[in-house]
């Protein structure tokens, strides 16, 4: 259970744009153990998808990784050749993309698109073996076998999303990344899909990286959680501990702006202001301009951001470590 599967250390990445560098990922570190589910939460644009893409080494052409390492089962992924990466992708790590609605090629049948991946990673399998396995997966995510013979546009959003999950499972990965897998779905379906993912994860003993802007969902789904703000992780720890004693003012703001999951009546408070532009280098604590209770230290631009430990496996950005 506590075996390290994915280890990300000091990962920094920026996009090269005409307006300058967009620092989308700054000095991000976390580990995911096997069988564990890890949540990444933060406002839209804080760099969650950038982290996810970098884990698969599928980041856009204009991105530059300046520092850090990504180790999957002890094997470094950064700098691996495209051919070696091909063997890792889907076989060890698969992903359900944000906006997975468009993840299917419109002119190829669903079943064939799944089999295509299986042929790549299990060349010895017969066609029938693959079909059997797909049917099994479909059953697991609540889809009918006949979906295999359908084209993407014949399916509803929820069905497509379930099929995407089946696709992500098709080559027995050790870890699945789910990047806002339910954002485009209506609420009832969202709930079903979440349950499906959780069920499958437990059943197969997979690791999961669940990415969302909705901290309530993350609470339901994960054992461990990292809160991201403007490209950096500002608080990370066991989900329970972070929820019970959030330390960073951003985490607290996030929790406050969500209807309480435990049903306590609390006044909803939304956060004022906008996240900072990632183009300009940010001095000091990136959250201080929006912080409801900034201390004098926070505004001090010479303070570098960095995590310090405040509890068992619970870390928070220096700046807020003293906050009450």
């Amino acid at each position: 259970m506590s075996q390290k599967l994915l280890e990300v250390t000091n990962l920094s990445m920026h996009y090269d744009t005409l307006d300058g560098n967009v620092d989308a990922v700054k000095n991000v570190s976390f580990t995911v153990n096997s069988g564990e589910s890890f949540g990444l939460v933060g406002e839209s644009g804080c760099g969650k998808t950038s982290v996810a893409m970098t884990l698969l080494q599928l980041q856009p052409d204009n991105s530059v990784i300046t520092e850090g390492s990504i180790k999957l089962e002890g094997k470094e992924l950064i700098g691996l050749s495209e051919n070696d990466l091909r063997k890792v992708r889907w076989d060890s790590i698969s992903i359900v993309f944000q906006g997975a609605m468009n993840a299917w090629n419109p002119v190829i049948k669903i079943g064939e698109q799944i089999r295509e991946a299986m042929r790549e990673h299990y060349p010895q399998n017969s066609k029938q073996e693959n079909i059997n396995k797909i049917n099994e997966l479909f059953k697991m995510v609540g889809l009918d076998e006949s979906i295999s013979e359908r084209f993407p546009h014949e399916l509803s959003g929820g069905m497509k999303q379930r099929a995407v999950i089946a696709l992500a499972l098709s080559c027995d990965p050790k870890i699945i990344i789910a990047d806002e897998p339910t954002t485009a779905l209506d609420v009832v379906i969202q709930d079903q899909i979440l349950n499906e993912i959780k069920k499958v994860q437990n059943l197969l003993g997979l690791s999961l990286i669940y990415i969302s802007h909705d901290i309530a969902v993350i609470a339901e789904m994960t054992d461990k959680i990292a809160v991201m703000y403007a490209g950096s992780i500002v608080e990370i720890g066991p989900t329970q501990s972070v929820f019970e004693s959030p330390k960073h003012s951003y985490t607290r703001a996030l929790l406050d702006s969500t209807p309480s999951i435990r049903g306590e009546k609390k006044k909803l408070r939304s956060l004022d202001g906008e996240p900072p532009s990632l183009i300009n280098e940010i001095q000091g604590c990136s959250f201080s301009p929006r912080c409801p209770s900034p201390s004098s230290g926070c505004k001090n631009q010479s303070v570098e951001m960095g995590l310090i430990q405040i509890g068992e496996e619970h870390f928070v950005d220096k700046c807020c470590s003293e906050c009450v």
């Binding site: 419109p106 991946a117 790549e120 014949e154």
Partner: protein
Amino acid sequence: MLIYTVKRFFEMVIVFFLFLVISYLLFNAIPGNAFSSLLLNPLLPPEAYQKTIEAFGLDKPLYERVQLYIINFFKGDFGYSYTYYPRTPIDLIAERLPRTLMLFSIVNVIAFYTGFLVGKILAWRRGSKSETWITIGSVFSYTVFYPWFALMMLWFFGYKMDWFPLGKFLVPEKWYDSPYTSDEIFYTLILFVTVSSFLLFLVFIFTRNIESLQNRRNVRFLGLLSLFALAAMYWSNGEAALKRFYAADIAFHMILPTFTVTLVAFAGTALLTRTTMMEVLKDDYILTARAKGLSQKRIRDRHAARTALLPVVTSFIFTIITIIDGSVLTESIFSWPGMGQLILEAVVQEDIPLAMASFSFIGILALIAHFIADISYAFLDPRIRIKAEN
């Protein structure tokens, strides 16, 4: 799919009727009597004049004439060509159409196939040096003033280098004691090209499902080799061996026009494919394909190029529609005696029956091409297939 096809077919028939009526009315609108030039042709005997008047009901009111024309059309009776009296338009078209179709089908198939291949590689290698240069070259040949370009090709390869004949269909001196007419030889050629492209097509279709790329390539190579062997056997035995000399003469005359038109047509396809493919490469499912760990080639050919094929097919079909109109220029420059020249002649000489028959054929061809476009589109894109079924 069947219902869709039938529906489309009936629509096509209706449109064709409208086309016939409208084109008749347009010719009818020519100032004076549309057939007055008939009188001026000294070669035309009076009985032909009388026959035409009767056949087309020229002394009857307009609506009767239209009726008569349509009835005659379906009987295949267009009267006589004024310029080629006593040959009929049908007879002339039957002689000229195959020449045009042969030349331009070959051109279009080569141009679209290579254009598509090049276009997809250009999009894939975006930003590389070779991509830049080939793209610039394609833009040049796509935008070049075609008549000038064709004349330059003719001047350079035909006159300056003297590698190819300066146009025409054959060298008459070689044919003085020929036991065959040029048409006989040409039909043999057409048959040969049709059969061999069909066989080639079969080779590709049947090897499509060979999973290993290496094996597929080898099997296809073997297939090509045996096709070549078959072709060689065909031309060295029996009657074909006697026809070989004349067939080669015609084929030789086809090379320069084929090459010239291909260069121009190819560029358009390559640029079109490049643009669509670059759009497709931005789609999410390309990212999925990469995440799945598929090979570059598979992503390019199976996921990107397949979707980028749709607009290319459309443009291919629309090119087929314009083959005959488009052939006017090429055939004039290379003195290729096909439909293009025939139409030009008919119009310049006011040979009304011939012109009308020719335009009707263009219409039929255009409709058939549209029909094929719709059907093959539905075949290639399942989204349209579904819509079509409902």
